[in-house]
Every structure is written in C-alpha cells, then in structure tokens.
Symmetry: C2
Subunit: 291 residues, 2 copies
C-alpha cells in the first residue's frame, strides 16, 4: 500500500497540470497570467478526493482528471475573491502575495470570474470517458455546491455573522461551515459515485464528517499554527473576536471533537473495505496537517 502523502502529492501534480493546461489554452491576457499564478501550489485535497473516489468506483486513471481540475478551479476562484480587501483582506496566500496585491483588485475579480467559467467548461467539453448524463449531473451538483445554496451561502452567512450583535452558536457555525467549505468537499468526495451513477450516500457521510474535522483543524491551526508553514496570516479569528470551534469548545474540546469526526468519517467508508485506505488516511491527515 502506498501512503497518503505520496498519493496526495501525485494527485496534486496531475490536477495542477490539467488545470494549468486549461488556463494556458486561453488567449494571452494579464488575467490569464494571474489565473496561472493563483492556481499554483496548494494541497489540492479536493482534486485528490475526486481522483480517489473515481478510482474506488473502478474508473480508469485519467477519467476524473477534468472534474478534479474543475473543483480546484472553483476552490482557487473562491480563495482569490475571499482574499480581496472587501472580503477577508489577505495579503498572503500559499506563501505568496495574493492576486490583488501582485496585480490589482480588478484583475483579482476577473481571475475568480474566469476560473469559475473554466471549471464548468472543463466538465462540459466533449469527453467520451463519461456519459453525457453523468457530466450534466456533475455540473448541476457543482453549480449547487459552489453557488447561493452552497459555498456562497456560507460566505454570506459569514459576512452576516461579522455584523451580528452576538457571536454564533456551535450549531450556527456548523451550518455556516457546512456550506462554506463542506459543500465543495462533499462534491469532490461524491464525484466518482456520480460518474457511474452509484449511491453517493456513504461518501457524502464521509465528506460531511471530514469537512467538519477540516474546519475544526483550521480553527486549531489559526490558534496554534506557524504562519510560515501555513503560508497565510494566522490568529485572524481571535483578533476579530469571531466565534470559532476553539472559542466555543476550548482547545482540548475542539481536538477531541475533531478526533471523533475523523472516526466517524472512517466508519462511513465501511462499504468500500480496505480499498478506501487512502481516504481513511486523508481523514487522519486533515487533523494532523500544519498548513
């Protein structure tokens, strides 16, 4: 059995190459250059989940690469827009200046917009390896996970929370994060099942627990992490007086909850047996990671 870190690194290289090829196929412009810059690096965990869930469903290597690149295009677009001064106002991302710092705000807005279009184009263009019905299902579910019922809804709730009179409850933060980061992680984990019209329930349960563990780990990292390793600004939540899983559960309580969720994620993979060992290791990884 090969380990998860190697598998993640291989997936990251494959997915980034596919995404960069999509960007390179566009006509030359400052926006294209900035798209290529923004798409560089990162863990590509969502892309890995797409490839691995496709492998679990018996799909040939390569079949899922466009979908994996698509979810990373959506993820990168969300980071570029999130980093804007009107949003989280971050100067640093993946250890490099953010797009609006290196170029300007207008370019960063357009980079996000064009990356979102590219994501849907990657899945919609002719591809004999998947049925048209499967590709339409992937596109509809991705549009729902990314839009006003998914990621953007989570961001809207996050903005509303910042001007709310009292900090969010645990239940409210859980709902906010389920939309903001959970929807894309769920889409990624379920993509392989969608490709062959199989049941998405076990992978959706896995992704739900994984996504919550991921967000708790993010909150822990924001308190305990090393900014140089993380490649982004830390301690933002405490400075902003925001309620987080750590502020609500305490540091030890948050760590215990994250461990429980990882166990829940692993249990959800039972139908896949030992074939799912990389997804189990991925769940362990999200609470052990340093960035």
């Amino acid at each position: 059995m090969s380990g998860f870190p190697e598998a993640l690194a291989r997936a990251a290289a494959t997915v980034e190459a596919r995404l960069q090829a999509g960007i390179a196929a566009l006509p030359a412009s400052s926006v294209r250059d900035a798209m290529a810059y923004a798409a560089r690096g990162g863990k590509k965990l969502r892309g890995f989940l797409v490839l691995e869930s496709a492998r679990l469903h018996g799909l040939a290597p390569g079949t899922a690469e466009r979908s994996a690149a698509a979810i990373e295009a959506i993820h990168v677009y969300s980071l570029v827009h999130d980093d804007l001064p009107a949003m989280d106002d971050d100067d640093l991302r993946r250890g490099q200046p953010t797009v609006h710092v290196k170029w300007d705000e207008a370019t960063a807005i357009l980079v996000g917009d064009a990356l979102q279009s590219l994501a849907f184009n990657l899945i919609a263009v002719p591809d004999a390896a998947l049925t048209p019905e499967a590709r339409l299902d992937l596109i509809a579910s991705l549009a729902q996970a990314a839009g006003g019922a998914g990621m953007v809804l989570g961001q809207a709730l996050d903005i509303a929370a910042q001007s709310a009179a009292c900090p969010l409850t645990l239940e409210q933060i859980t709902a906010l994060q389920a939309a903001k980061t959970g929807a894309l992680i769920e889409w990624a984990a379920c993509a392989g099942a969608r490709m062959v019209q199989a049941d998405t329930a076990p992978l959706a349960a896995y992704a739900g627990a994984l996504g919550r563990a991921f967000q708790i780990a993010d909150d822990i990292l924001d308190v305990e992490g090393d900014a140089a390793l993380a490649g982004k600004r830390l301690h933002k939540d405490a400075e902003a007086g925001k309620a987080t899983f750590v502020s609500l559960l305490g540091l030890e309580g948050a760590k215990a909850r994250a461990r429980d969720l990882v166990a829940e994620a692993e249990a959800a993979l039972a139908p896949y047996g030992s074939e799912a060992h990389l997804l189990r290791e991925a769940a362990q990884f999200v609470i052990a990671r340093r960035n």
Copy 2:
C-alpha cells in the same frame, strides 16, 4: 405580425420570471435578496435572442426559457462586478443604486459569483425537452463565451487599455468589444441552433454584426444620451479620455457604420426568410434605442 417591442417585453417578463424563480429557490440570505434586486428590470435582449432563435428552429415555447434565464444571469453578474469600485465604479444601474451601493462590496462580489453558478445550474438540471448532448454544448459554449476567452478577456483588454500609453485603434476596439459584449450576444443568438444541433453560422454572422452595432450605439448613447432614460451614468468615456467608435469615426461616421452593420445583420438572416422578422427588427432596435 406582432412587433418587436411587444415581443421583447413579453420575452423580458418570461425570462425575468424564470430567473427570479431560480433565485427564489435558494436558501434565504442577504446575497439571495441582492441577486433578486440585481436581476430586476433591464431589456433582457440576450434572453429574447435565445427564445427567438429557439422559435426559429421549431422548438416549443418554454423549451429555451432556462437557457434564456442563464444568459441573463451571466449578463447581470457581469454588470454587478463591472459596477464595483475596483472596476467601472458606477453608482447607478437600470435607474437604481448598484448592488455595492445598496448593500456593500462583499455582497456585490458574492452576488456576481452566485449568479454565475446559477446560470450553469439552470441549463444542467434535468430537462427532458433537450438532449443531454445539446445541454452540454450549451454549457461548454456559454462557459467559453463568459470566461477568459470571451467576456472576461474583453474586460481584461479594457483594463489594459486604460493604462496603455496610446488610445486603442479601431481594430483593437473591435476585438475588445467582440469579446466583451459580442461573445454573450453570439451565444444567445446561436442557442436555438445549438439546441437542435443545427448550423450556427448564419446566426453567428447576424450576432457578430448586431453586437458591433450594439456597441457603436452604446458609444453614441454615451455622447448623445439622456442619463435619466439610460438609467446609468453617461459621458464616462470622454471623461476618461478613452478611445471609442465615436472618437475614432466621428459621430456621423459612427452612425453610418452602425447602419451598415444593421444591414449586414439583416442580410445574414436570409436563410430564415420572413420567419426571422423579429430578429431583423431587433437589429433596427439596437441602433434606435435610448437606453
């Protein structure tokens, strides 16, 4: 024969209802409210073109409504992002405060992002009236028309022009506008042909001439128009010292060129005979309009 103004008004009502239904189906949030606000009003010319090209290809009424709502969702997203302070910095749109003025910049960014997702969702969800292959072709071509090879490319060229040492040439402005506004208009006019896998060439030629006439008319309106009727700020280009079709061709020269393009657009419709009379009237309309 019913006239174009009535047909456009009917199409606008149909397309707006379909778009608002898509927005209303999202969970409640400030972003959803602002999406509904931004989608209100406007000519809905692109949506009309989709419905009319579908009718020309023998499709039943209703078949093309989701695609018509989708192109308007893309158009509205582009207006909301274009109006942002980092882009064109406009306070007024369709006679009302722009989204970032009425809400805030973060909401306006998210409104545009969620409208783009909604556009692809509208075409991707199950729909027995069109084949899966036709819907994938509509999605792929819409993603290309909207993204870094289409509308966003045009916006990137526009930004680059603002910091260029010398004003653009006629050829450069034509290329810029073909991407910035032409790509969506071409997609709209060709949508009906795509729905039945028919030849898109005549409608693409029509849309190419129509789009150029539309942009020249916009430049003329910016000089001669009434801001109250137009519902947006005028005289921006002259203030910014930007090269336009009017600055390059003169007012009379621009009007003559627009008339030639309308004749070209009408001629391209020859294969459709008298059935295309509303598209011919639409071409007349784009150079006669006051907003």
